[in-house]
Amino acid sequence: MRFTLVKDLRTDVLMRPIIGGLLLFTLLFLIFDVWHTSEKIGMIPTKVATFLYGNEEEFVEPVTQTSLLEIIHMDTFFAMMTLLTLSAVYARLSNSNSRKMVMINLAMISAIIAIISLMSAFLVHHFFLYVWLGCFSIWHVVAFGMGIESLWKLYRL
C-alpha cells in the first residue's frame, strides 16, 4: 500500500513501472482465471450442471463437497487479494469519485455473491448456478475494466 502515499504515480520513476507490472499481471490473472474456470467448472449452464450434479447418461460423477470446498476456499483467497490490490490502485488513479465507488462496489459484491452462489447451487437449488454464472462474469468484466482504466490513466501522455 506504499503507493497510496506517493503524490503522483504517473511521474514516479519507481512506482509507475511497478504498478504497471502489477496491473498487467492482474489482467492476465483475470483472463486465465476465466479460461481455467471454463475448463474445470464450465461457463455454460449445462457444463456447470454436469460438474456439480454429474450426468448418469455420460457416466460423469458429481463433484464431491470436499473438492468443491477446496475450489471455493482457493477462489475466495485469490478473489480477495486480486480485488483488494486492484481496488487500491484503481482508487488512486481514477479521477471520478462516483465511478470508482460504483466499480469497486460492483466488483466486490458480485465476487462475494459468486462465491456464495456456487456452494448454494450445489447444496440448495440449481437456480444459483445461473446466479454464479452471472456474478462470476460481472466481477471479472468489471475488474478487467478497472485494470484497463488504471493502465490507461497510468501511461497516458
Binding site: Q65, L69, M81, L83, L84, K100, M101, M108
Partner: protein
C-alpha cells in the same frame, strides 16, 4: 483515508470471513473436529481402508498455506495502521500470536505422522485459536474502517 479505500477494506473483511468459514468447513468435512478424527486422517486405518498421509502429500498442503497465511495475516494486520493508535498494541499482539499459531497449525501434521500422536491436540487447538484470533483481528479492522466511514 479515501472512502474508496475504506470500501475496499470493508469488503476485504467480508472475503476474509468467507475464507475462514470455508476453511473451517473444509477442516470439519475433510479431517474432523475431534482429536481421534485428526489422528485417523493423518495416520490412516487399514481396517477402514484409509491410507496414512505421506510427507510429500503434506507438502502439497503446507506450501500454499505458508504463502497464503503469511500474506493474509500481514495484509489484515497492516490495515490497523489506519486505526487509532490505542488499538495498535492489540493488533500487534494478535498478529504475533496469529503467526505463531499458523506455524503450529501448518507443521503439526508432520509431528503426528512422525510418531508424536499428541500433536493431534496441538493441531486442533492451534486451528481454532487461529480462526478465533483472525476473526478478532478482522473485527478490529472492520471497526476501524467502519468508524472512518461514519465519521467521514
Amino acid at each position: 483515508m479515501k472512502n474508496a479505500y475504506r470500501a475496499a477494506i470493508l469488503y476485504f473483511t467480508f472475503f476474509a470471513v468467507m475464507l475462514l468459514v470455508s476453511g473451517t468447513w473444509l477442516f470439519a468435512t475433510k479431517i474432523g473436529l475431534s482429536p481421534d478424527a485428526v489422528t485417523l486422517y493423518y495416520l490412516g486405518n487399514e481396517a477402514l481402508f484409509q491410507m496414512p498421509k505421506s510427507s510429500e502429500g503434506l507438502l502439497e498442503i503446507v506450501l500454499p498455506h505458508l504463502g497464503g497465511m503469511g500474506l493474509f495475516i500481514m495484509v489484515s494486520a497492516h490495515f490497523m495502521l489506519f486505526a487509532p493508535k490505542n488499538r495498535h498494541q492489540w493488533a500487534k499482539i494478535t498478529a504475533i500470536i496469529l503467526f505463531t499459531t499458523a506455524l503450529l497449525d501448518i507443521f503439526s501434521p508432520y509431528a503426528i505422522i512422525n510418531g508424536f500422536a499428541f500433536f493431534n491436540w496441538v493441531k486442533l487447538i492451534s486451528f481454532f485459536l487461529l480462526q478465533s484470533l483472525a476473526l478478532f483481528l478482522l473485527g478490529l479492522v472492520f471497526l476501524s474502517a467502519f468508524e472512518g466511514v461514519v465519521k467521514h
